[in-house]
Amino acid sequence: MTTVDYSKDVSLLAHLLRRASFGPTPDEMDYAVEVGYDNILKEFLNPKEADLVPHDMIRRYHVAQSDLRNQGAAYWIYRMLMTKSPLREKMTLFWHRIFATGWAKLIQHRPILNQIDMFRTHGMGKFDDLLIELSKDPSMIMWLDNQDNHGHNINENYGREILELFSMGVGNYTEDDIKETARAFTGWRVVNPEYMSIKMRNNTARPYGYMSWQFEYDDEDHDKGLKTILGQTGNWNGEDAVRIICEQEGTAKYLARHLYHYFVEDELPVPQWPHEPPRNPEAIDLMVQSYFDNDHSIKAVLGTMFTADFFKDIPARYARIKSPAEMVVGALRLAGPIELPSMDLLAAEDACTNMGQALLNPPSVEGWQGGTEWVSTGAYVQRVNFVSKVLSDPDKIGLRNIIDKIKEKASSSNLTHTQLVDFCLDILGPLDVMDSTKSSLNKYISRYPDLSWSDKSGSDSFDEAVVSLIQLIVSSIEYQNA
């Protein structure tokens, strides 16, 4: 096997930043090249502190994002744009896809954003802790009706989904395990369950708006009898059920396959997983081993994955279709920072929805499948149109930075058509495109006969050429993939 010096492989660094981040800006790419693969990965895996979010500015000017009855997706997109810890934020998106919770039933966005915040805190920690926090999460309790799960009369909804969708997948448990797990979670509810439930069911903000929910354990409503979960018998409570679940190999495999699907290569839709093997069983085995070797640490599994050859090797590159959120956030980050208040955030929320990923409102408890689900004909048009529009103004800070960097690369104040195409592809990634794509780009840019910027007129024309070329590049299949 040929040994590759990955730390100096710019193309590989771009690959990492497309997957572990929302795609690099030119400045971030420069920084990654400077510090190298291992160090940038270390920074991603070990975010030092919470992101500094100007909540006061958001709440003062975007008033509807203060009570967060709605516009929660716009708020979250702003955080994705501004984060200094992109992997942590991508993990919140990852968990939102799996622990899919939606406002269509819950009516308000605020508790779901509290759940997203919980993902920020626990999303890269021990899987057991994450599942316990998820089980206590008020929006999950209301989403899967655990406030109706009583010691004398169980509601098995959460007991079913924690096994089927959140940890192990179909085929690793029995119907009895579902009922017994549900019994373990009896008494796990929210404060004021009757009134909160009926406000949600009636979809009413009257008389004085919504109330955010708080977890409450009601010991009197908990079933204290013996339970047998996945072969283990005892007087189990919810924490015990989570411990038993997290000990299972099926749980580790299910988690590994989800991470592989999200970060490495598009897998089959989840409902097919019980019937079809993973695309790369060896990769899954490696991640499962990491899970058990590191006390169920999600961060450790991520580290194993991002340093493995199966992630770094050429076939994994561009092997995923960007999700709408990745497309939208990546384009906005390229365009440059957003000053509050900004209607761009509301447009970004709408764009995600139109592309098929209504954040905080997944299509069902199964979340989004990803992969080819993202590229129906209509959705593809939405993807291209949104990104082209966002990247249309050469005076936006990010685009101006790109244009200036292209000029810096040139040895004189003009470029050939081929040079401009190469420079743009380099700065937008670097992006490795097919020969046919490159040929089309060269043909398109030839409509600008003079690519010099020595005077005002030439400079304006050069800006227009660069912007047009970037708009074309972002509509290419290579840019649409990650």
Binding site: V63, N70, Q71, N192, Y195, I198, K199, P207
Partner: protein, 346 residues
């Protein structure tokens, strides 16, 4: 900066008495408010409340007219991107001595005048930083024949005659005396001094009527006498300084020297509009019978606590006084205002 440190609570013989809660959340117009931003009280008891609403419920955007006794007199103005009488992001309403109503809009960057019958008369302003232009105007203060506009993102105060004719301006961005960081509310005391909620500097600044800096009160924090993004200020006839301490989700009252006197977290309760609603929604009424409105929360963030505890202030954005010094606190996120009296007693 004024020292708010040591103070003697035994000097405080007054207390906050809850009077009533006026409001009701309405998404699609009708009796109630949505995200109210400000209110103005007319001598006859009619209260004008500017509802900011949201983009999915534009019918409520406008100025609702109500009374402290829970009467509803309809709405004036409407959502719209530019015609006379329209608004998008209202921030403040105030009245002149002839009962003309002035409205600031931080999206349209204009001040609109409504006559005493509620008919729009004229507007002035456009986005910019030149004299006569605005960048997100917030607070308004009528002083006889002139009006002061807190031109928030330009970090300055502009003075106009009541027809919108530009007179002067003062203030600039900064943290020093007389400088601002996104100022919001404004008021005047009985001696003509002007007080401004210097929002992102976490302080209240006091000026002469000519805009000369006098002193400032408060600093960043959540303990007594400190502020976290104060949104508005009022001064009662005794000179007490009443502040909506927005991000701390409370009302604070300081004496005229700036010493802390008392704070209030809110006591909102059901009003006749709410009671009528529950009569028509028996299932909700029955469920509410077991509702515990105030409970121990497991978070520290005052905004999240307010989101969970219905009686508490949630984003108190303005404070106004009536002629009896009753205190009216507008809460953006609970779609209501609470009324208190600051009176003698323990």
């Amino acid at each position: 900066m004024h020292n708010n440190g040591a103070h003697d609570l035994s000097k405080t013989t007054k207390k906050m008495n809850y009077v009533t809660t006026v409001g009701f959340n309405t998404d699609f117009g009708g009796r109630g408010f949505e995200h109210p931003a400000s209110l103005a009280i007319r001598d006859d008891g009619v209260i004008f409340v500017a509802s900011r609403g949201k983009r999915t419920s534009k019918q409520t955007i406008g100025i609702q007219r109500v009374s402290k006794n829970h009467e509803f007199f309809g709405k004036i103005g409407s959502y719209g991107l530019g015609e006379l009488g329209q608004m998008v992001w209202p921030t403040c309403v105030t009245l002149d001595l002839d009962n003309n109503l002035f409205l600031a809009d931080e999206f349209l960057n204009r001040i609109t005048i409504f006559d005493p019958d509620g008919e729009p008369v004229k507007y002035w302003g456009e986005k910019g930083s030149a004299p006569g232009q605005f960048d997100q105007p917030s607070g308004l203060l009528v002083r006889g024949e002139t009006i002061l506009v807190v031109d928030s993102k330009n970090n300055r105060i502009q003075e106009y005659n009541l027809d919108g004719g530009y007179i002067s301006q003062w203030g600039e961005e900064g943290v020093g005396p007389g400088q601002f960081s996104l100022p919001w509310g404004i008021c005047e005391d009985s001696h003509g001094y002007i007080y401004i909620a210097d929002w992102r500097n976490d302080r209240i600044q006091k000026f002469t009527s000519k805009g000369e800096f006098v002193e400032s009160f408060g600093e960043s924090g959540s303990s007594e006498g400190k502020f976290n993004r104060p949104s508005d200020v009022a001064v009662d006839t005794e000179g007490n300084i009443i502040v909506t301490d927005w991000a701390n989700q409370r009302l604070q009252i300081l004496d005229r020297e700036g010493n802390f006197l008392i704070e209030e977290r809110g006591k909102g309760g059901l009003n006749p509009w709410a009671e009528e609603y529950f009569e028509a929604q028996q299932d909700e009424k029955e469920a509410r019978a077991s509702f515990v409105p105030v409970f121990d929360t497991d978070v520290d963030d005052p905004s999240e606590i307010s989101a969970r505890i219905e009686p508490y202030f949630w984003d108190p954005v303005s404070v106004e006084l009536d002629s009896d010094d009753n205190i009216y606190i507008t809460e953006s996120n609970r779609h209501r205002f609470q009324v208190f009296e600051f009176c003698e007693g323990n």
